[in-house]
Structures are given as structure tokens and as C-alpha cells.
Amino acid sequence: MKRYLPIVVVVGLVAWLGWVATHKAPPAPLSAPASATQSASAESGASSTPDGTPAALTTVPNSSPSGATGPAGLPAAGLAHPFHTLPARKLWPYGADAGTAVITQNNGAKIYSDVADLARQLNDPHTEPGHDLETIQKLLEIYRKANGVNPTGFNFEIVDALRGDNPIRYAVIPEDMPSLNADGELLDRWGTPYWFHPISGQVMDVRSAGPDQKLWTEDDISLPMGYEQ
């Protein structure tokens, strides 16, 4: 019987994982009722959503809490996947200052105020166009830190994920993000949708069509990704 002990342990572990996976909380719909967000307490740096509904804020404590509460003040109970928890802010490459607000958006997703501010820097006329692509890569990196992999698909699908339609309901683009068109696509500073090229779970090529608003012309702007097919 002793030789079967490892098998029994493995089977037990797998059964437990299966139980956890099948009992996870289903993700809330993106269009969560406004009342749900308004029930949270609002603190410093209050902002409003495009329709005027106040966004719910909490403040990031000085150190990441533990126990039943998720990192950076996010409630662990709402997380959809046992393996997907928000990383501690101290591990993040951008923002992470104490006092950063956690905003619960109308769609139910949460976003850090400094990450939202980073996203709003897109298409700032005081910066070079290449800065926009660097900003998008930073946002993708933050997204990856939380979700493990890049979002994938067309522009509007990637933007949906960046706005919080992802397993842990964590947004890196705020609801009141400018530069989105009616189809939910992220636009460059000339009003053309960015072109997203999913290369792998960790690498995303992003391209702007440039001033002539046509892709694959000489004025296109992209960052070298070291990838060739």
C-alpha cells in the first residue's frame, strides 16, 4: 500500500483543486448596478464617471494587508479565481505610493488612481507620440502583473480586458478614458485605432498609423519588439 501513497496524495490534491475551481464565484457582469459601487466609502481624490456617478474610492494602506482582505485593500472575496489575486503594490513597477486610491468603477472593476492617471497620459500633446506606445506597454505590463498574461484579440477586445473585463476584474484603463471611439477601440492621437498584435502571453506589438492615419505606411509608429515572422 505504501507505494500508492503518492498517488493518493496527488489524487487528493487534484480533487481539492477541482472543488475550488468549480466553486469559484462567477464574474460579475461588467455593467454592475451603480448602487453596488456607491455603497463603498469614498475618500480622498474623489472623481466621477462619465455619467456623473461618483466612483467609489478606498485608500491604499501603507502596507499590504493580509488575511481575508486582498492586497492593497482589495477584498479577496470578490476575486474570481483562486490563483489570480492582485499582487502586492510593492512589487509593481509603477505607482504604488501609499495613499493611492482604489476606485471601484461602475462596471464593478477596480482600478488604482495612479494607474488611471497613467492611462490618461495617453495622447498628451505635450509628449512625443512614441511616449504613447511606451505608456500602453506600461499599462499592459501592469495588467500582466495582475493577470499573468496579456489580453488578446482585436483592439476593442483588448480594451475591454484592460477596462476590467478580466478574471480578477482589475482595470488599467478608467471608464472615463478619453481616446475611445464608439466601438470601444483605443485611438491614437490622430484618431486612428491602435493596432494590437498579440505575439505571446507576455509580448504585444502595438502600432499607431501615424499622422496619415493609414497603417503600413512610412509614418507608422511602433516600438521594436524583436519579433519577426
Partner: protein
């Protein structure tokens, strides 16, 4: 002193490792059943099976199969609104009046560059104008019409069957999707592992080779898995190590840096291999070096002993002047390896080879009209050349053409969006899609037919992944597992019509090779899969 063969694999070990590898949530029950049957592992298989080879051509970057196998005016595939696939195709691929990336029925066009090449009706042997191929693929048209080549429509990575847009968009845990769809690297790996439900551990070709090795217990002189395109995932096995060779030069032997073959360094390897090592890592290290040297010598010998007749045949079949690199050269080297198979495999090994070729450039986001035409031209000409070689009278096995023992199949990351990403005929391209059509070629293939389910090309519904802003990304109707199951069974992997319920590794090794196959319709006899008959089962079961 007891002799250890740490790198070898036995059939018993293969079964055990495969069962453990398949241990996951979905395979739990069956894996437990496998545990109980391990002690009844199969008897050693005889090595008397006839030679067979699989040649995989991977189209790197995502081949626009919508631009390869094209609906014509009389196609009888309609969407739920009664609109034909041809009409949907024209609508999606035409931008303004430019007809971007659009080919039409030859009866409709006066421009020969825009005419698809019609495929024959299987019964009448005349064009029925239902399907055509890219204008640059006369070779493929000819092979199809001569029943040497078939298409399998809308194949892609899947975890479970997905029937519609709604299934794709469902968040139900009962309808999982392959992770990182539309991403090159991830889909490349999933196509080559065939297991979209778990992280990569090994490739389907490597697993088959492991099974063959376990069947004979004999390591061939050169690996059963030979790559013409560098290291790949498909040929990664537990015991099998892929052997990569140059399609132009074969093997680059050890040298001191100035080229050539350095006898001193070769002697050092020989001497080191004769020493006694107490540390397993040291032993393994020198074993790898020695095996590489021996394999290189064997391949060098194969290449240097080709007869003038064989060289003439290779030169006449493969036009390496027009196509000096790429697939034509790779398939020519595959042909050379087949000519030298007796040296490479030896008499005691399973008489099987798995070749991997790959062609880049298929990620046609821009300038697709010209670039993809060149790729289709190369693919078509290379397949025709390879088939000509395989059917040459000098290559018979007994009285049977070599082509009956070789099956060539294509794979690609994904196909591409039906709608182009621009309105300029010259510069527009297409973006990442999902399910696409694949080619299967060989003497055993029941060719002249399109297997699987051809899409109706309806945007924002049907099998499009989106309900709004859809661009024609098809939810696959045939999984990679089903597609490969036909190849694996033809190659000797045991898979019967009862494989769905047969979890006994003694009678069914298909589940070891394609552990997720049971999630789908039986490809061997199901009418809905529409795959049965593509390839017969191997007379020799491994």
C-alpha cells in the same frame, strides 16, 4: 554491475508517464483507470511493420486559409439566413470596388489573376464550381483532382466543442476556450502539443515517437524525429530527442572554427565516451555528444552515398533554382532522408519517421496580395515536387509507390480574419483569426474531397467569434485533436471507434497521444465530424 539505461524508455514507462501527464481535472477518471492497468502494459511490438512517415509543414505566422481554399458560385454552403458562403465571402473580402483579397469563380472574372482554380467534383471529375484554390496553386489543384490531396476545413485549437458565437462568448466553465487565442506563440505551441487544456510538456510527434520507441525498445541510429527547421515543440518527447539538420547542408560537423571536419576533436569525443563516469550528469553529457557525432556521421553517409540516379531524380523533382530556399529545399532534404531511411533507422527500430518543416512569412498583416501569392506558389510547387518524388517508379516499396507510406500535412498558428485590415489592394492584409483549412497529401489519403465542415463565412453570427464588429474569426468546427487523430491512427497508433470508452492502454493508445480527443465527436466514424475515410488505419497497430 547492474547496467542502467536512464535515457531509454520502455513501453511500461511510456504508459506510466503518459498517464501521469494526462492527470488533470478532465482526465482524472480515466487516468485512475490507467493506473489500475499499468501492470498490464502492452507486449513489445514487432519491428516488422512497413515503413511509414509523417511530414508536417508548419506555416508560421498564420496562413490565410480563406485565401487558399475559396468558395465558388455554386457552393452549397449557406448560412442561417440562406445566404451562400460565396456571397458572404465576396461581401467580406471586397472593399469598395477594389475587390481586396478577393478571388471569384472563373466564370465571373475576365481577370485571370482574380480567378480561383476550380476543383473537380469527386464523382464527375469535372469542375462543379463549388470550391477553388488560389490562382497560384495549380499544383495543389492538380493533386486534389488526382485524389492525392484533400483539405480539412476549419480546424483549430479547442478544449471542448464550441458550436457557435454564443458558445464562444459563454463564460460557463463547461465551455472553456484555449488560453491566449489569437496569439502567435501560444497557438503555435498548442497546435504542436495538441493539448490546449494544459501547459506544454511535450509535442504530439514526440509522444508518438516515444510510443514507437517503447514498442521496439530500440533507439534508431538517428532520431525518429528529424527537423528541417530547427528546434520545435512538436517533436519534443520524453525519450525522443529531435534531430535538427540543415535543409541545404545536412549536418555541420565539428570543426575548429574554419569549417571542415576536425579529426582531433572527433577523436576526443570518442575517447571521452570510453571513460567511466560516476556522475550521471557527466555520463549523460558525453552520451549526448557521442550520439550527436554518430548521428551526424550517419546522415553524412546517407548524403554522400546517394547514387547518381537518386541525385538526378532529386534534381528533376525539386526545382531549387526557382525556389532556392524555404519549403522546396526542406522537402528535398526530407526526400534524401527517406532515401537513406535504412541507414537512419536500422533494422531493429520501428520503421517510422516524423519530419518537421516550417515556412515563415505567413503573418500577412500587410501587403498580403503579393506576399501571400508568393507563399501559395511556393507551397503548391513544393507539394507537387514532393509528390512527384514519392510517386517515382524508382521509389517503390515492393510494388507500392512510396507515396502510399508517406502522409504530408499542414499546420499553422491560425487562419486570418476574413475582412482585410485596409482598403488598399496592394498594402492591405489580414489579422489573426482562429479555425482554418489544412492540407493533407499522400497516396493513402482519400483525396479529392473536403473534410470537416466548411464555414458559411457569415459575419457577426454563425461561427464568427463576435456578434458586433466581427471580422470573420471562425470558431473551429474540427479540433486539432480530431485532425491529428486520423494521422496518428494511420501511423499506427491504436484508435478504434470505441476509443471514447476504451481506457485500456493495452487496446487503445490513442488517448496517450491525444489526451483531449475524447472531448470531441469521434473522428473515425462520426458523421458530424466528417473526417472518416480521410486516411485508413494502419495495418500494424503500435
Amino acid at each position: 554491475m547492474k547496467k542502467h539505461h536512464h535515457h531509454e524508455i520502455t513501453r511500461r514507462k511510456f504508459v506510466r508517464q503518459s498517464a501521469c501527464a494526462s492527470l488533470g481535472l478532465t482526465g482524472l477518471v480515466d487516468s485512475l483507470a490507467h493506473f489500475t492497468l499499468m501492470d498490464a502494459a502492452m507486449a513489445q511490438v514487432a519491428n516488422t511493420s512497413p515503413y511509414q512517415a509523417l511530414v508536417v509543414i508548419f506555416l508560421l505566422g498564420g496562413n490565410d486559409a480563406n485565401n487558399m481554399l475559396i468558395p465558388e458560385r455554386d457552393i452549397d454552403v449557406f448560412d442561417s439566413n440562406g445566404v451562400s458562403a460565396y456571397t458572404n465571402y465576396l461581401g467580406a473580402r471586397t472593399v469598395n470596388s477594389n475587390k481586396v483579397l478577393c478571388f471569384v469563380d472563373p466564370r465571373d472574372s475576365s481577370d485571370p489573376t482574380k480567378r480561383s482554380l476550380p476543383l473537380n467534383n469527386t464523382t464527375t471529375n469535372t469542375p462543379d464550381y463549388k470550391y477553388g484554390v488560389h490562382p497560384k496553386m495549380p499544383g495543389v489543384q492538380s493533386l486534389y483532382n488526382n485524389r492525392q490531396l484533400a483539405f480539412v476545413a476549419n480546424v483549430g485549437t479547442l478544449c471542448v466543442p464550441l458550436a457557435s458565437t454564443a458558445d464562444y462568448q459563454s463564460t460557463s466553465i463547461l465551455l472553456p476556450k484555449p488560453p491566449q487565442l489569437f496569439s502567435h506563440a501560444d497557438q503555435y505551441i498548442q497546435w504542436q502539443s495538441s493539448v490546449s487544456t494544459q501547459p506544454f510538456t511535450n509535442g504530439w510527434g514526440g509522444r508518438i515517437a516515444d510510443l514507437m520507441l517503447a514498442g521496439t525498445g530500440y533507439n534508431p541510429s538517428v532520431s525518429m524525429c528529424i527537423s528541417m527547421a530547427g528546434v520545435n515543440k512538436l517533436q519534443v518527447g520524453n525519450a525522443t530527442q529531435q534531430y535538427c539538420i540543415s535543409p541545404t547542408d545536412g549536418v555541420t560537423q565539428m570543426s575548429t572554427g574554419g569549417g571542415g571536419n576536425d579529426p582531433a576533436r572527433r577523436q576526443v569525443i570518442d575517447n571521452l565516451s570510453k571513460l567511466v563516469y560516476s556522475h550521471l550528469m557527466e555520463r549523460s553529457y558525453i552520451n549526448v555528444a557521442q550520439a550527436a557525432k554518430n548521428s551526424g556521421d550517419t546522415i553524412d553517409n546517407v548524403l554522400s552515398t546517394l547514387t547518381s540516379t537518386q541525385n538526378s531524380l532529386l534534381t528533376s523533382c525539386f526545382d531549387t533554382t526557382t525556389y532556392p530556399d524555404g519549403l522546396m529545399v526542406q522537402l528535398q532534404m526530407v526526400a534524401k532522408m527517406m532515401l537513406g531511411r535504412s541507414q537512419l533507422l536500422g533494422s531493429n527500430a520501428a520503421q517510422r519517421q516524423i519530419f518537421f518543416c516550417a515556412v515563415s512569412g505567413y503573418d500577412t498583416h500587410q501587403n498580403q496580395a503579393g506576399n501571400h501569392a508568393n507563399l501559395m506558389d511556393e507551397l503548391s510547387a513544393s507539394l507537387l515536387a514532393f509528390n512527384t518524388f514519392l510517386n517515382d517508379a524508382s521509389n517503390k516499396v515492393g510494388n507500392t509507390p512510396l507515396s502510399n507510406f508517406v502522409t504530408t500535412l499542414t499546420s499553422s498558428d491560425f487562419t486570418r480574419t476574413l475582412t482585410p485590415n485596409g482598403d488598399n489592394t496592394d498594402t492591405a492584409g489580414t489579422d489573426h483569426g482562429w479555425g482554418g483549412h489544412q492540407i493533407v497529401m499522400g497516396g493513402s489519403v482519400a483525396g479529392g474531397k473536403i473534410y470537416g465542415q466548411y464555414p458559411d463565412f457569415r459575419l457577426n453570427g454563425g461561427r464568427d467569434t463576435n456578434t458586433t464588429n466581427g471580422r470573420g474569426r471562425w470558431v473551429p468546427s474540427t479540433s486539432v485533436d480530431q485532425y491529428l487523430a486520423l494521422m496518428a491512427r494511420w501511423f499506427g497508433v491504436q484508435g478504434s471507434t470505441t476509443y471514447l470508452t476504451d481506457t485500456n492502454p493495452n487496446s487503445n493508445s490513442m488517448n496517450m497521444i491525444l489526451p483531449n480527443l475524447r472531448a470531441f465527436d469521434n473522428p473515425f466514424d462520426s458523421s458530424t465530424a466528417n473526417l472518416s475515410g480521410l486516411l485508413p488505419a494502419s495495418p500494424i497497430i503500435i
